[in-house]
């Protein structure tokens, strides 16, 4: 196995072009586990740790351009206001040690249905900035996850950053695990209210082959809030609406039975989380009014 250590982003892109099968390594919290257990034997490891800009973020008027390697710990401490959903999700990842190393770029690279960043990214909305020697493109987050542990990156591409819409309303993230910390999601749910567009977006983790949005549930709730004039009145969401939203979220999932939980439980839990997180975000929206 060869260890490539590019000193700059340009060198990294060149190396990836030259060795398309090279495996990028950022925090290494997924990569090293796979190598240690011999699940993966890459011919080249492409170390991204010398590229400082991957660990920085820029805040624009409407978006945050989050470097691929910004560790979860810094998202939690530095981006709580701009990206509250992702900050909450980051806090549920693993333990302090892992949160000091791992980041969103790695979570996207692995593209596990259980990755905790995904529901928050889907709910918040944004795009992945992928780059190669051929150029740079923005992949909408909705198009990024293409299959179980597969994503839309081309073999010569690296993730430079994630462009995320700055929160215009309350966001929440909730995850079920059978332990109170340091646990892989049995299922997870993210929700973001977007008062600017009067829409609601969601993300579901660990309950389908890829992270998904609960499209029908979003449409239902967006319409119900609209029809009830609730964005303006800031009145409580009627329980029947919350209940229907929860049922539609549960219905959107396509879970399986596995060693971490049953499909039926996952559906049930998603419904509960959807109802609760909607309640929390809406209460916050009302309080801010």
């Amino acid at each position: 196995m060869e260890f490539l250590r590019p000193a700059s982003w340009q060198e990294a892109l060149a190396a990836k072009a030259e060795h398309p099968t090279a495996l990028p390594i950022a925090g290494g919290t997924d990569v090293m586990v796979e190598i240690n257990f011999d699940h993966r034997r890459p011919d080249h490891l492409l170390d991204l740790n010398r590229i400082g800009e991957l660990e920085e973020w820029e805040t624009g008027t409407d978006t945050v351009r989050l470097g691929a390697s910004v560790p979860y710990a810094r998202i939690m401490s530095g981006l709580r206001a701009e990206l509250p959903g992702l900050a909450l999700a980051s806090h549920t990842v693993a333990s302090p040690q892992i949160r000091n190393r791992g980041g969103v770029g790695g979570n996207l690279g692995t593209a596990s249905p259980a990755g905790d960043a995904h529901p928050a990214l889907l709910a918040g909305g944004g795009a992945v900035e992928a780059e190669s020697v051929r150029g740079s493109r923005l992949i909408p987050i909705d198009d990024f996850y293409t299959g179980v542990k597969r994503n839309a990156l081309a073999p010569d591409e690296l993730i430079r950053a994630v462009h995320l819409k700055k929160a215009t309303g309350p966001q929440q993230f909730s995850k079920v695990g059978t332990r109170n910390a340091m646990v892989i999601a049995v299922c997870a749910f993210g929700i973001a209210l977007h008062p600017d567009t009067r829409t609601v977006r969601t993300g579901i983790g660990s309950a389908a082959p890829t992270p998904i949005r609960a499209g029908t549930a979003e449409e239902f709730l967006t319409a119900a809030l609209d029809e009830g004039g609730l964005w303006d009145s800031r009145k409580p969401v009627p329980p029947a609406v919350a209940g229907q939203f929860a049922a539609l979220v549960a219905g959107a999932a396509n879970p399986i039975d596995d060693v971490r939980g049953t499909a039926a439980y996952r559906r049930h839990a998603l419904g509960v989380m959807a109802r609760r997180t909607l309640g929390w975000t809406w209460e916050q929206y009302r309080a801010e009014g």
């Binding site: 909450l88 059978t178 332990r179 109170n180 646990v183 999601a185 939980g261 049953t262 509960v272 609760r276």
Partner: protein, 793 residues
């Protein structure tokens, strides 16, 4: 000699001085906390090779062929061994029954059974070469439970059994069966006003020690081998290793290496014979370290169990009778199943007085992973079931569950179902009173001025509730555990103690073969030597087989047994020192002949406090050096039909009160507080005692709400051999554990002490379950509880 050992030479003197009863600090404590302590996985030798074990990928199959050609031809590979390469006629080992092949022969009986060994110059080379070994399997029917094991046409897991249990078991797929019959349960049942029966299921728990199996075998010039290894009982290992190697025991020199936890999981051999075989074959030092995945296959687990109970009671709350049947799954090899059966049977009704009892306990041979020793050893599974029953009977009677237990609680002088009289304090009712009388943690303890603190709620940081759906429950349990090896086993320990004067100061050296696995023996031995010999400086020598056996670091026995051995040898050394003093100085002072003499603060003093001489003066250049064995009182085997017999040495008791918050909609649990009260006879080191109780309590919590090895019921393959999916409690899952320590001396035991390590593991689990039942109103007959058990299908 180019070897990096991982000892124990670092554990030579306590970090703080102090005699018995003081909370002296562990000598290795700072090293462990700062990450500097060297464990067996850190062993290193120049030029060493790495061993790797090829394991079966199926649970039950005939081995049609093994082709090692390609593996052997791999550059860097020094040896590939299979069953056919074993050097002597002894090809099996085992703790009680030698039924475990060193390498699979003809068939494999469980998932992960060792089939072949590779030694190579790099661990990756060894692993990849092993992957090139081609093993052809022909599937056999998989035995997974009692029904498949005892069906009339069941395939036998072990054919041609000739062990000493085969004569009394009803089926060859039953390892051992132990009834306990006392009084007339059927007649007593007729007197009962209420009868409650239930079936209970206990999942397979793992010891989940953090230091994986590892060791280093170094071939010696005399044809023998030096083995450095993390284990629980050096001499038991030795007795199993030497015959397979064809070496006399003196040529297999074992030294304990740094042990990263054990909990019973290191009683059986793992890499010991394999490492020695490869070292002797290649003539080079060989190190073997399992990774976490392999570790789940490298040691036995706690027996999963199915238990049926019937309890009867009269209106006034007195138990009339108990009938029960306990079926333990021993998996593919016997390990310590027979002894686990003996414990489950004899302790099956708990710390209660019941005159009419009808009990049957047995362990199966199946193709599931082998099960054996784990903290609590057979008593844990029973306690989970009988405590659930006690709550249900109390509910039937409309009585308070604690009061109902107290009415039936045993006390000193009570008779066990085995006929044995409990002849030392048994403060069962008092322990319950103590946990019950503690104030409860405040309601809605998660509320802060800034909103809900999710860390105090079910789901924790995963942010699943801010109080919605959360219901509190409180539950109680109490248990009984035996201390020491039972059923007539000749259980002894050995200590060698040397006393001499160095630079004008009397110092002591203690040498035992006790495995320090974290329990704190190295701390306590120095405390005992200081108290008995009046010295300050005590050196604890590394544990090895150059001194007599210390027995196992298990059964809550080491402070009693090796602590007792150190005390015993110290007393003999003291007598010699005093003799020496009498001979040298007796003529100068009449007190030498007449007074009771003690060693204190480096001096010989009379019981009146008069100083007669310095110990160093008495010793001068003489060295007093003794090695003595120490035994507890003998026990008896249980009668094979009635279970009668004075089978146990000592009993220990602990009670818990659990306070939980349950998210009833999501089925998530937060244990808020787990209060414990335990009688320890005498706390030799109060800090260690509290540590043991908190650790045992947490391990019990683990199997209440998360810890389980999931075995596929059809294929018998292990589905979660990793810390990603075998979950153990984190600090956020660990509640406050207030501990109330009682010290009611047992006159039979050294210093009156009572073994501490296991009892808290028993009652913690049923207390948590009881609290969850109270919060949810669900029956919950199975542990661990999973979220879907609480939310419905």
């Amino acid at each position: 000699m180019g070897i990096t050992r991982t000892p124990t030479s670092l554990t030579q003197s306590s970090a703080t001085r102090g005699g018995i009863g003081e909370s002296t600090l562990r000598p290795d404590g700072t090293l462990k906390v700062t990450g500097e302590f060297a464990y067996s996985s850190d062993l290193w030798h120049e030029d060493m090779l790495w061993g790797y074990t090829l394991r079966s990928t199926v649970a039950h199959a005939a081995i049609v062929s093994i082709d090692t050609g390609e593996a052997l031809a791999t550059p860097g590979v020094y040896a590939v061994l299979t069953y056919d390469d074993l050097p002597t006629e002894v090809k099996h080992y085992g703790l009680e029954i030698r039924d475990t092949p060193v390498l699979a022969h003809g068939k494999v009986r469980h998932h992960g059974e060792p089939v072949a060994l590779v030694a190579a110059d790099h661990p990756e080379t060894a692993r990849r070469a092993a992957a090139k070994i081609r093993v052809e399997y022909e599937p056999l029917p998989v035995i997974t439970d009692e029904a498949s094991a005892t069906a009339p046409d069941a395939v036998l897991v072990h054919e041609g059994r000739d062990d000493h249990h085969i004569g009394h078991v009803p089926h060859p797929n039953i390892v051992h069966r132990q009834p306990v019959v006392r009084g007339d349960a059927a007649a007593a049942a007729a007197r009962a006003d209420v009868v409650v029966s239930g079936e209970y299921v206990f999942g397979m728990q793992d010891q989940a020690f953090l230091g994986p199996e590892s060791g280093l075998a170094v071939p010696a010039e005399d044809g023998g081998v030096d083995l450095y290894v993390a284990t629980q009982w050096l001499h038991s290992d030795l007795g199993q290793i030497a015959p397979v190697l064809g070496l006399p025991e003196r040529k297999v020199r074992m030294t304990l290496s740094g042990v990263g936890g054990a909990f019973g999981g290191r009683e059986d051999l793992s890499m010991q014979i394999h490492g020695c075989l490869l070292a002797l074959r290649t003539g080079k030092p060989v190190k073997i370290v399992y990774n976490r995945f392999e570790s789940f296959f490298g040691h036995v687990h706690r027996h999963p169990a199915r238990l049926w109970y019937e309890h009867g009671a009269t209106r006034d709350g007195r138990l009339t009778h108990v009938r029960c049947r306990i079926v333990l799954d021993g998996g593919a090899y016997a390990s310590s199943s027979p002894a686990v059966v003996g414990n489950a049977a004899s302790l099956s009704i708990g710390p209660y007085v019941v005159d009419d009892v009808d009990v049957e306990a047995l362990a199966l041979y199946t193709n599931n992973p082998p099960c054996g020793a784990m903290r609590g050893f057979g008593a844990v599974q029973a306690c989970f079931a009988y405590e659930a029953q006690m709550d249900r009977v109390a509910a039937e009677l409309g009585m308070d569950p604690v009061e109902f237990r107290q009415i039936n609680a045993m006390e000193q002088g009570a008779v066990m179902p085995t006929g044995q009289t409990v002849d030392s304090p048994a403060p069962v009712a008092e322990l319950l009173r103590r946990v019950k009388s503690r104030p409860l943690p405040p309601e809605r303890q998660w509320e802060t001025t800034e909103g809900a603190d999710v860390r105090a709620l079910p789901g924790g940081l995963s942010n699943t509730t801010h109080g919605e759906g959360v219901v509190r429950g409180v539950g109680y349990a109490v248990g009984i555990k035996n201390v020491g090896f039972s059923e007539g086993f000749d259980d002894y320990s050995t200590a060698r103690v040397r006393m001499q004067a160095i630079n004008g100061e009397a110092v002591a050296t203690v040498h035992t073969a006790m495995a320090e696995v974290g329990q704190g023996g190295v701390t306590v031995h120095a405390q005992i030597a200081r108290s008995e010999l009046g010295v300050t400086q005590v050196t604890i020598q590394p544990a090895d087989t150059q001194v007599g056996s210390a027995g196992s670091t298990s059964a809550s026995r080491q402070t009693y047994m090796t602590g007792g051995a150190v005390k015993n040898t110290c007393e003999a050394v003291r007598a010699k020192v005093l003799d020496l003093g009498r001979r040298k100085f007796g003529t100068y002072h009449p007190a030498w002949a007449t007074a009771e003499l003690l060693l204190e603060d480096g001096k010989v003093v009379t019981d009146g406090g008069e100083v007669l001489a310095g110990i160093a003066e008495v010793l001068d250049d003489e060295v007093v050096d003794l090695e003595l064995e120490f035994r507890h009182r003998p026990t008896q085997a249980f009668d094979l039909r009635t279970g009668q017999g004075n089978g146990h040495v000592q009993y220990s008791f602990a009670a818990h009160r659990a306070v939980v918050e349950v998210d009833t909609e999501l089925g998530l649990v937060k244990v808020v507080e787990l209060a414990c009260a335990q009688d320890v006879g005498k706390a030799l080191n109060p800090l260690s005692v509290v540590g043991q109780i908190q650790g045992g309590t947490t391990q019990g919590l683990g199997v209440a709400v998360m810890e389980e090895i999931v075995v596929d019921p059809v294929t018998a393959l292990v589905r979660n051999p990793s810390f990603t999916d075998y979950l153990i409690p984190t600090i956020l899952d660990t509640p406050t554990i207030p501990v109330d320590v009682l010290e009611l001396a047992d006159a039979q035991a050294p210093y009156g002490l009572r073994g501490v390590g296991e009892a808290p593991t028993l009652s913690s689990t049923p207390a948590v379950l009881a609290a969850i039942r109270q919060a949810t109103g669900l029956a919950l007959n199975r542990t661990p509880v999973r979220p879907e058990h609480l939310t419905g299908p």
